[in-house]
Amino acid sequence: MSNMLEVAGLTKLFPVRNGFGRKTGDVRAVDEVSFAIEKGKVYGLAGESGSGKSTIARMIMGLATPTSGEIRLAGHSIIGETGTRAYGRKVQMVFQNPGSSLNPRRTVGQSIAVPLAAHGMPGGTHKQRIAELLEMVQLPTEFALRYPHELSGGQKQRVAIARALAVAPQLLILDEPTSALDVSVQARVMDLLVDLGRQLGLTYLFISHDLSLMRNFADTVGVLYLGKIVETGSTASVFEAPQHDYTRLLLASVPVISAEEEAMRPKIPLIDGEIPTAEQLIALRGGAAAVSQRTEK
């Protein structure tokens, strides 16, 4: 199986400046991250806030520039290609907040038409393609005339998905696509994503902090802490036999609703005090985060 996406040594540094503008160090938002996604599979990046998962997504999408490292799409390096129209045909993104990823002043149809017009589709064919796309995400075609504020959260997210799929990309980056939605709506949207993935042969990069969701959607998972992947492997193996302390801490913290889930969770007494963020570590003059963390009892 060939790899749709390969990421090697991806790093993003943000300079930390003192009051005079003098650089005093770097925040290693993304620290030498490497992973690969097989064609047609789902790769999950799990992490909490500050872990760097969104930064990675934005670098792959071309909304941010890596400080160093390589990104290869279907074997070709994408440096210099991101931000171009051609790239937009191959990689697209579904953003986290459906309320703000759709322009409130444009109708659904107009929002979906943006990529169609941008990629040179003649205006006469738009209506049909929009209707096709709305059907694909199981929304009535009349919705093309509605404004985002007339839609529910789940419906807005479906529109965002339709828009991302408008020019038939091969890789879809999903940045916390359901975290703003109710649990029952979330299930429907995940159903849709799975079905579309199978139908269209899509490869997914799935970013989430929701471990239960990750467990049931991703084939392979990488656990991110402070910009580094601290553990990676097939979803089942990482969840059932976590090696790294941070992974075990994450799993132990998830509120679950059944005895079986409780039984499979690692038992870690909760530490008093919080695990440090990247800025806090910089402040402590510790520099880059230690890869291995031992939990305190």
Partner: protein, 295 residues
Amino acid sequence: MSSETLPNAPPRRLSNAYQNWYRFSRNPTAVIGAAIVILAILAALLAPWITPYPEHVGAVVNFRARHLPPSAEYWFGTDNVGRDIFTRVIFGLRISLLLALVVLGIAIPVGTTLGLLAGYFGGWVEIVIMRLTDIALAIPPLVMALAVAAVLSPDLINSMLAIAALWWTWHTRLIYSITRQLRTQEFVEAAETLGASKFHILFREILPNCVSALAVKTSLDAGFVILVGASLSFLGLGIQPPTPDLGTMVASGSAFLPDYWWESVLPGFAILIVALGFNLLGDGLRDLFDVQEVR
């Protein structure tokens, strides 16, 4: 399955326009403001047909009817050469509104475009545009108009141009700050990733979101432009007689205070009411849109 409507979100099928109308109509001062503005515009448009003495706009004198107080025959009284003040006020209103139209018609496109460019592109573009704006903002409009009048002739066109040449700066600043905020919104990023052209992003994604702020500012500005225009003509820089102009009427009528007060006070009153109308309208629009921002 579950209802996804929040208790205080509008029911699904109510359009934006209906909601706006509903809320606007519940605000008494806003409705008054809107009524004044609409009346003023209608009066100005229909001036030749609704005024009792349209010929008094020209070089007409009627010395037997000089300085007459307000009456059934001359609603606002007559001036020092016997012309009906009411008619002249309505025609003067035309000039004022025309002034507002021209000035804002230049200032809005220029200011908005510059603001969009500066806010979205940043870097050199931003620096150049914003510093230019700062320079222009430092010049007081009235002084500028005086300077222009000194160099060219004191004339309405020149005054309008002088004001327009400085008025765009406020629009630039406003649109700049809104664009900067919106630039990081996800729908703008989405447009970028979807391959939209910069023109599209600026004018089809960002600009529509500036419309509410623009509407508020434009209505408030219209009142101010009218005031500035009247001040200029009060100083003698505006339209030359015999064409009626509100500021000029206030000026020339002031020589006859307090005996023939109506010649100065009533045109002044007209300026007040119209400017007030625009202000109330602008405030009402702002209240309307403010609530919407806090979703």
